[in-house]
C-alpha cells in the first residue's frame, strides 16, 4: 500500500536506476500482482515500485513465507507466474520452503531477491546469504544479475523459463548496487536459450503405439496428473474418455483435471485413494499416465504398482518418464498436443465391458465411508457438506494433514485450476496464504481455505492481509486439537504413543479473527454448520470458522508405507 505524503519525484525520464528497469521489465511481462516484503537490499526496488505509475498491486504479506505461498496459490489458479520480492539474507531464506514447494509441484514463480552490493559480496556482509547456492537444488533455474545492462533480458528469460515446459520457480538475485545505480544502457535484444527447448509435440509413432495398445486393451485406465491442468488438456481428455468410455483416476494434484462427479471417474488414487481407483491400478492392463510423475504417495510399493499393465506416460519432462516406473510407451509432449494427436489417430476403442462392470461394482461395494453420529461434528461430513453448500464451485486451498486428504476425497471438482494444495513437499502453512493468492487471482470467485488447527498457526499472521484488503476468503479450520495426521500414524504404527501430537493449548481462534476485525465463529455441531454456511459463503468479506471436529477420526482407506497399492486398510467400516 502506498502512503503518499510527498508528491512523487521521478528521476528525469532518461535517468533510470536498475530498479526502475526491473519494474519496467515486470510490467512488460504484464505482472499485475507482486507479493513481497521490503528490506535493506531491496530498498531501491521498493523505491522504484513506489515511484512507478504502472498498473500493478504490491501485496505486503506479514512474513516472506506468506508471500511465496500466496504467489503459489496465485500461480495455480491464474495459470501464470506468481511474482515475489524479498530482501537479502533472512528475507531470501524465509522463501526457501515455498521455492522448494513450487519446484516439487511445478508452479511457475519468478522470485526476486535482493543481495548485498557487489563490492562486499563474499565477505559475510550484513544480511548476506548465498542465495544462488541455497536455491540451486530447488529452482528450475536461478540467476545472479551481474549488471543492470543484462537485467531486462534476465527478467524475460526468467518468465519464459518459469512458465513454459514443465513450469517451476526461477530466482533472480539482484545485488543492491545494481538496483540502486543509474543505468544508461540496457540489453533489449531477444533471448535465445539453446539449452532449453522443451519438446511440445508428441512423436506420432508413439501415439500410434498408444492407439494400438488402447484397441487391444481389456482393462484400460487413465491417470491424470497436474500436467493435464498445466497443459489445458481437460476438455480434450473428457472428449476422448467419453467417446471410448475409458475410466479415469487421478493423483492428488491432478484433481479437477477430470470432472469429479463423472461416471467414468473412480476417485483419487494413492495412499488415501479410493478402493476402486487403487484396485483399478493394480489390475489394469493399460495405464495411460498423463502428466503425473508416479510419486511414491501414489504408487506405494513399486513392486506391486500396475504390474499387469502396459504403461504409457505422457510428460513434458522427459526425465520423469521411466524414473520410477518402467514405461512401455514414452511420450514426451505437452499434454494437450499429445491428446489432440491421440484423438486424431484413435479410431477404435477398447472392448472392455467386463472391466467397466467390475469397476462399477467396486464403486458400489466400496465407496468412501465414515461413521456419522449426527450429534457430532465429523470432519468428513464437514467436507462433504461444504462441497454441497458451494455446489463444488469454490476454489479450495488446503493445508497439509488429515483435513487435506478429506478435502481431496470429499470435495469434488468439476473444473481444473480450482484445487490448490501442497502435494510434493507437503508444506504445513501453505493453505491459508495460498488462498490469499488464489483470491487475488480470481477476485469474484468464492475461495475457501481448509486448514488444520496446526498448520494454520504456521502462517496465520497473514490474517492482516485479509483485514487490509478485505479479501472475502473463507477460512475453515478443521480443528481436531491435534496434529491429526501425525496422531493417526502414531495410532497405527507407534502403538498409540501420541508423542507431541495432541495439542491441548491453542488460541481462541474466534477472538483472534476478531482482533483482525475479521468475522469469526465457533462451530460445534452439524446443525450450527448447516444453519450458517450459506450465509457465510454469501458474505462479502472474510470469515473464519473454527470447526471443532472429532479428534479420533482417521483418514481411510490407507496404504501403509511399504505396502502395495492393493493392500489398503480401512476399506469398509
Amino acid at each position: 500500500m502506498k502512503v503518499d505524503t510527498k508528491p512523487k519525484t521521478k528521476p528525469e525520464a532518461a535517468v533510470k536506476t536498475g530498479a526502475d528497469i526491473l519494474v519496467e521489465s515486470l510490467l512488460e511481462q504484464k505482472v499485475e500482482t507482486i507479493f513481497g516484503y521490503p528490506g535493506g537490499a531491496v530498498l531501491p526496488i521498493y523505491d522504484a515500485l513506489y515511484r512507478s505509475d504502472g498498473d500493478f498491486e504490491h501485496i505486503l504479506t506479514r512474513h516472506e513465507q506468506g508471500a511465496i505461498h500466496a504467489a503459489e496459490g496465485y500461480a495455480r489458479v491464474a495459470g501464470k507466474p506468481g511474482v515475489v520480492i524479498a530482501t537479502s539474507g533472512p528475507g531470501a531464506t524465509n522463501l526457501v520452503t515455498g521455492i522448494a514447494d513450487a519446484m516439487m509441484d511445478s508452479l511457475p514463480l519468478v522470485v526476486i531477491t535482493g543481495q548485498v552490493a557487489t563490492s562486499v559480496t563474499g565477505t559475510d556482509a550484513f544480511q548476506e546469504a548465498d542465495v544462488m547456492g541455497i536455491t540451486t537444488p530447488i529452482t528450475k533455474h536461478n540467476y545472479q544479475v551481474q549488471s543492470s545492462y543484462e537485467l531486462p533480458k534476465v527478467i524475460k528469460e526468467a518468465f519464459h523459463i518459469a512458465s513454459t515446459g514443465r513450469p517451476g520457480p526461477v530466482v533472480v538475485d539482484i545485488p543492491k548496487d545494481i538496483s540502486a545505480n543509474l543505468c544508461t544502457e540496457t540489453d533489449q535484444s531477444a533471448f535465445h536459450l539453446p539449452g532449453y527447448q522443451p519438446t511440445i509435440k508428441p512423436n506420432p509413432l508413439q501415439i500410434k503405439k498408444l492407439t494400438e495398445a488402447i484397441k487391444k486393451s481389456k482393462k484400460p485406465l487413465i491417470l491424470t496428473g497436474a500436467g493435464v491442468i498445466h497443459g489445458h488438456a481437460s476438455d480434450i481428455l473428457l472428449e476422448i474418455a467419453e467417446e471410448y468410455s475409458i475410466p479415469v483416476t487421478s493423483t492428488l494434484l491432478g484433481l479437477g483435471a477430470f470432472p469429479g462427479q463423472h461416471d467414468l471417474f473412480l476417485g483419487m488414487a494413492g495412499m488415501h485413494g479410493t478402493y476402486t481407483a487403487n484396485m483399478a491400478i493394480a489390475e489394469c492392463d493399460l495405464l495411460i499416465n498423463i502428466g503425473a510423475r508416479f510419486d511414491d504417495r501414489l504408487t506405494g510399493n513399486l513392486n506391486y504398482f500396475a504390474k499387469n499393465a502396459t504403461v504409457a506416460h505422457v510428460d513434458i519432462d522427459p526425465a520423469e518418464i521411466g524414473k520410477n516406473v518402467p514405461t512401455d510407451i514414452p511420450i514426451v509432449s505437452d499434454s494437450k498436443a499429445a491428446l489432440a494427436e491421440l484423438k486424431k489417430q484413435l479410431k477404435e476403442g477398447p472392448d472392455h465391458e467386463e472391466w467397466m462392470d467390475q469397476l462399477n461394482q467396486n464403486k458400489m461395494a466400496y465407496p468412501l465411508w465414515y461413521n456419522n453420529p449426527p450429534e457430532e461434528m465429523v470432519p468428513q461430513w464437514l467436507m462433504k457438506s461444504l462441497y454441497h453448500a458451494t455446489r463444488g464451485e469454490a476454489i479450495v486451498t488446503t493445508d497439509v494433514g488429515q483435513h487435506q486428504m478429506w478435502a481431496a476425497q470429499y470435495y469434488s471438482f468439476g473444473r481444473p485450476n480450482r484445487w490448490v494444495t501442497s502435494g510434493g513437499l507437503g508444506t504445513m502453512g501453505f493453505g491459508f496464504p495460498a488462498a490469499i493468492g488464489a483470491q487475488l487471482a480470481k477476485p469474484k470467485d468464492p475461495v475457501v481455505a481448509i486448514v488444520g488447527d496446526g498448520g494454520f498457526q504456521m502462517t496465520l499472521q497473514e490474517l492482516s492481509v485479509l483485514q487490509e484488503r478485505g479479501l472475502p476468503v473463507k477460512i475453515i479450520i478443521v480443528n481436531n486439537g491435534a496434529l491429526g495426521m501425525v496422531r493417526q500414524w502414531q495410532e497405527a504404527f507407534y502403538d498409540k504413543r501420541y508423542s507431541e501430537s495432541i495439542v491441548g493449548v491453542q488460541p481462541d481462534f474466534v477472538k483472534l479473527a476478531e482482533s483482525y476485525n475479521i468475522r469469526g465463529m465457533k462451530i460445534e455441531t452439524q446443525k450450527e454448520f448447516t444453519d450458517i454456511i450459506h450465509e457465510v459463503m454469501a458474505y462479502d468479506g472474510p470469515v473464519l470458522m473454527d470447526c471443532r471436529v472429532l479428534q479420533q477420526e482417521n483418514v481411510y482407506p490407507m496404504i501403509a508405507p511399504g505396502k502395495g497399492i492393493h493392500e489398503m486398510v480401512g476399506v469398509k467400516p
Binding site: M132, G133, T136, P137, K140, H141, N142, Q144, I161, L193, P194, G195, Y196, D317, P318, A319, G322, K323, P326
Partner: protein
C-alpha cells in the same frame, strides 16, 4: 558400472555447482570431473567419470543433466570409440643416485621429468587412467610425496567403427 559422460555447457557462474549438486542429490558417484573451455567462446565442456548402478540410473543421469538450462548437450561416450586422456603430476622422493633409475623406468610411459630438487623429482605423465595407475605403482617404492591428477577428459574419435568391427577395447572394463 563406470561411464564417461560429457556435458557441453554455457559458461555461466553456478553451472558447475548446479551440475555437481544434482549428481549429489540423486546419488551418482563422481569419480572425476574435468572442465575446460571449448573452441567456442562462452562454452565449456565437462567430462565426468561416474559410477551408476544400472541403465535406468544412467538414463536418469543424462536426462537430469539435459534438463539444466545451461547444459547444451550431454553425451555418453562409454560405448563409443574414443580418445581419453588424463594428466598426472607425481612428485617422488629421490636423490641424485636414484635419478637415472627412475628416468629409465618412466621412459616406456613417455613420461617426463619436469622438476628436480635436492631430494625430489616431479614427473608428468599423460595417458589412459590405467597407464597412470601403473606408473604410480612402479614409483610407489621410492616414496610418493604428492600427486595431482586432472581427471579424465575425452572425446569421440573422428571415425566411429560399425558395431560389428568394434573390438573389445573399452576403457571402462
Amino acid at each position: 558400472m563406470k561411464r564417461i559422460i560429457t556435458a557441453v555447457v554455457q559458461n555461466r557462474s553456478g553451472v558447475l555447482n548446479r551440475v555437481t549438486g544434482l549428481m549429489h542429490k540423486r546419488q551418482f558417484n563422481i569419480e572425476s570431473i574435468s572442465v575446460g573451455r571449448t573452441e567456442t567462446e562462452g562454452i565449456s565442456k565437462m567430462t565426468f567419470v561416474v559410477h551408476v548402478e544400472d541403465h535406468q540410473k544412467l538414463e536418469q543421469l543424462t536426462k537430469q543433466l539435459n534438463k539444466q538450462i545451461d547444459v547444451l548437450k550431454v553425451t555418453d561416450l562409454s560405448d563409443k570409440a574414443i580418445v581419453a586422456r588424463e594428466l598426472a603430476l607425481i612428485k617422488v622422493v629421490s636423490n641424485a643416485h636414484h635419478r637415472n633409475e627412475i628416468q629409465g623406468m618412466i621412459e616406456p610411459f613417455r613420461a617426463s621429468i619436469i622438476d628436480v630438487s635436492k631430494d625430489s623429482l616431479s614427473i608428468q605423465v599423460t595417458g589412459k587412467p590405467d597407464k597412470i595407475e601403473a606408473l604410480i605403482d612402479l614409483l610407489r617404492p621410492y616414496g610418493i610425496k604428492d600427486i595431482a591428477r586432472t581427471g579424465l577428459t575425452a572425446f569421440a574419435r573422428g571415425h566411429q567403427p560399425q558395431v560389428a568391427e568394434m573390438t573389445s577395447y573399452s576403457l571402462l572394463k
